[in-house]
Symmetry: D3
Subunit: 246 residues, 6 copies
């Protein structure tokens, strides 16, 4: 649907796996983006592979209607929720627009397991999940509004796949790059993913140096943000680091 | 997009112009629908032609993105917000999904005027409008979340036309019949519009009789809801009314 | 149920009909009461007889349950909502605990009409009413959370009559004196109604004098609150007023 | 007060101790119940005996009044909060209606300890508890809105015991069966506890099989929900399981 | 406190009296300002002199403390709330930061009257006022969060005058120009007031022309926003208008 | 700014390190204070030294303005946020007023580290922090509204240091004593810190005894609150304890 000219490079994906969402928010703020962090969406699992990283594949829900959204709706193999899960391309993140509705679940353990088996990069929803206990033990990135036992049909009707949506108050276009760490999830517009990932790595190197200085007793003034002296010291330190192969 | 097999008949439209939204909610509750009334959507204008009535033509907004949603976006004549207004079929109601966002406007006086000139049946949004002062004086049905001066681009990006949406927490499918009185707006699933409109008229005749009785001192028990005696009295009264041509 | 030793005297009732709810809040604050004004409860009607005044007769709602709260529930003449309306003693105010739920109505025109015919002093609810258009034209004090068309059964089950409740976040014990003006509703613990009504009248006389002074150009300091000089001037003015029979 | 004809059988209690609240929500949804899961009520403790299970014994709070709800109120041994804790029948769950008020506690460590010593099955409140640190270490099921240090008297006045209440937005009638797992709490109307517990066990057996298949690479279509083939495979698998005594 | 280099010219003040707040929001959006409209602040009065216009003089409240914020606090003639009202320079607008607290009033009729007598240009608060009935009849611009009877001391302690504050979620620096029409209030950073007022007048002339065209049947495309043809037609029309002295 | 006559004694500081915030809330309630516990402010770290204890040093934020609050703002070494961190006296707690805004951070790891290095007693904010993962591992008391990655400049402008503020809905005057345990944070007006700390220790000794009795099977009546017999038993027990040197 949306045209995605620049697939995410393996290098960018790797870089994004190791920088913080806070750093990415700063990089995007510098480029004029103020609304890129999903509100009220928290990490549920502790995946071993580092940050959630992947292009968005989206699912849109509207409010349920009592005559349509009965348990029998799932008998249709083309039900958009089920079809959506079967359609997420490997390496992509399923991003679900639940309109911030926290009273019922977006999905549960079986669907999340199928997502994982299919090779999806993760699940992001601004609603809760059910079976949140078992899901929290999965080695798979899941970000959501916590756990809630009632099933999605009570308030949701899945209606569209791979269209631009809102999630956690943020616009998500198919192909935008989702990155999640232990603090939450940021959406990087896809055309910026390469440059933002590079600048984020640079920023974090600098901040590691600054943090070291602050831990050593340096004052904020001149150190954070760094003045010319601190920048020079950083360059020297970094050259050393590079020389030492770190 | 959505297939609408049953256009709204002129008779149903006329009936719906004169029954209350409360009555329609009761009729829909009897059929198992609990969530049909738009929450936080209030009448802004006092149109002379009675209730808002018409099939829904929808517009979907997602959250704005700072790089896309600049003032220059409107230079594109195919901008969905502008195109949407030019696409509403005569007699239809433009229903806008603003995700309940109340901080900025859905639109303003010029767009509303264009809607009216084009013969639309009304405007419904779960966001506010700007120019709410002049709009409130128009003889055109407008229902929204009040007035708010900031422009839509700050938080909205119009993305889709004539797709199923949520508005005021209620599912709205293209072609569903929107009815609004001074209390608010109800969504009638389009396949039910004929029967619901007929039963609503019947219910209101009965309730007019009951109200008369209550005003005359009748107790609730036996009168509301009516027992056999009251029903018989109602039938007699109604026959008289019919005979007298009222 | 609750024992009400001091019925409201005709004199107190008359006094309370003419003082403002703001003044009563000040009098109660002076006695240590900070939470006596119903939040989110607004006047819907413009009764000709001045303030709403009367002892509370209460109705308690709990959340509805789908199997119990069907339309047929009202066939039972002892349904608490209906029984409650038939039980409000003349001159009393029906106060309904809707848990601040604004999505559905507390009741509608027929029930409100019955209340009025039975001689109730008014209706107070922290939920909305349906038929809010016709009700707003009644000469009967109604305070509520505005208008909403869906019927009460969707979210409410009336369960108890004449028990202590919360309404608008305030405790209301049966017999407590409800007073409402155009700004809202205050609950006066019944044992304080006499003294509070007297002191409120006194306060308002003083404030009328102060307002006159302020309109005449007096500074706040020494005038509001009044110092000894202003108090003396007030006493003189009031004696004049009394002598002149005003 | 409310008549409870069907006490919870030991078998049902045992079954409910091992099924998930999500499964119970599905079973109740199939029977037309959409609002049975307590919103904003989370597990505080990690009891060793599995799920919270037991019939509800209720306590109702109204907003506090400054003159009544002083610290001295607790000197009365018949204060409803204290009396309530002494009245919960063994094996029952104390369910407290705090109107969703999160600013102050429902109770603290001493009261919770007394509950446990008396043999109660657990504590459920839609308000927070104080002493949440020590309570979180107790081997006793406690579900609430987290921890909050201010005492209940600031906003609550306990007024009634063993009456129908709302808790977490859900109706709770005395004797209804409360079940809680790590995701939250569901209320089962007491007349449905037996059949729902049986069907829930069946559902979970089926879903265990389905999950196994999904983990093994099966597609959703035909597996979840199961088609005839999957159902046949399940029956075979289950017969094997039964034969093997699992 | 804050340095205000550019006092508001009489011409700018006059221009701002006649343009809409919506137009001013558009002008500020074009300059990069997205958050300039006070949320949840509504007009209470209908002043005869057009828009509220004037530089801000601010008052800051913090939450009240029970031992300090007793009724006797007002005996101190230097109480900041009272001193603030006596300090607002003529032609300035008193802007009160109530932290969006809607449960109690910011002030009442006597203080508002004193403000008016002293020549203030208006009152803006993100809390309600008490005596909202009488105040609503004053010929004086008052914008607030509606009416509420409880007195300010219950939740507010006035602590500072003429410092930068937040009001309705918007930063207000002393000297910023407040403009209010029937839709609400916008804050113009003081250094932009001249140019924004000029550009707003121009925008409104253009939009009056566009509205005329739309009422006459013009399509949105090419008209709104205007293309070269429409702009040329506008210039011609405006020259005519100017020639005719309109 | 505010005059702090009574510095916190080492004895009081030590006592406050070991009593619970719940106990302190009870002591303050007995003295008429109902609003002393910070709402929505939770502990992020697990410091080894017991409770957070220290006098407040405050920072006030107002909403950000797009032209002022750019990333370059931090180049100014006198930027109040940075200056504030460099100004907190050793042993004091930095308390930040974020107006309860949860969408962006109050600060991050580098600033928190600087605070710790400078010898501050802790950090309290009613907004979130960024870098919440690394900060949660610090041995330093941090209380806030969780983690959020966007930087403070998006919604905050630091404007004042060491002035009275609101935080978590509670008034905080410079020098007030902040105490935090695993449940949250209480503000003790500085003139009460000595006596409250003493009485809290006494209360907790008594409650430890009561808890022991309750665990041993004592009824609430007569035990909690203690009657004369229980008080006598407590005195005896305590004398024993004292004699044994416990």
């Amino acid at each position: 649907m949306t045209d995605i000219p620049t697939p995410l490079s393996a290098e960018a994906r790797e870089r994004l796996r190791h920088v913080s969402v806070a750093t990415l928010c700063t990089q995007l703020f510098k480029r004029g983006f103020r609304n890129v962090y999903l509100q009220h969406v928290k990490r549920l699992t502790k995946p071993t592979a580092g940050n959630l990283v992947g292009p968005a594949f989206t699912m849109r829900n509207i409010p349920a209607r009592e005559d349509i959204d009965q348990i029998s709706a799932f008998d249709d193999p083309n039900h958009p929720q089920r079809k959506g899960i079967e359609s997420v391309p490997p390496g992509h993140v399923l991003v679900i627009d639940c309109r911030g509705e926290t009273r019922v679940a977006s999905g549960g353990q079986i669907l999340t397991t199928r997502l994982k088996v299919r090779g999806a990069a993760g699940l992001v929803s601004d609603g809760p999940v059910r079976d949140s206990g078992p899901i929290s033990q999965m080695d798979f990135p899941v970000y959501c509004a916590g756990g809630s036992a009632p099933l999605n049909l009570i308030h949701h009707h899945a209606i569209d796949l791979d269209v631009p949506i809102g999630c956690g108050g943020v616009p998500v276009y198919p192909g935008d790059v989702m990155v999640g760490d232990d603090e939450g999830v940021v959406v990087i517009p896809h055309h910026l993913a390469e440059e933002v990932s590079r600048d984020a790595v640079e920023q974090e190197k600098m901040e590691a140096f600054i943090l070291q200085r602050i831990e050593g007793g340096a004052k904020l003034a001149g150190t954070y943000p760094p003045n010319a002296d601190t920048r020079a010291a950083y360059e020297a330190w970094r050259n050393e680091q590079d020389a030492a192969g770190r």
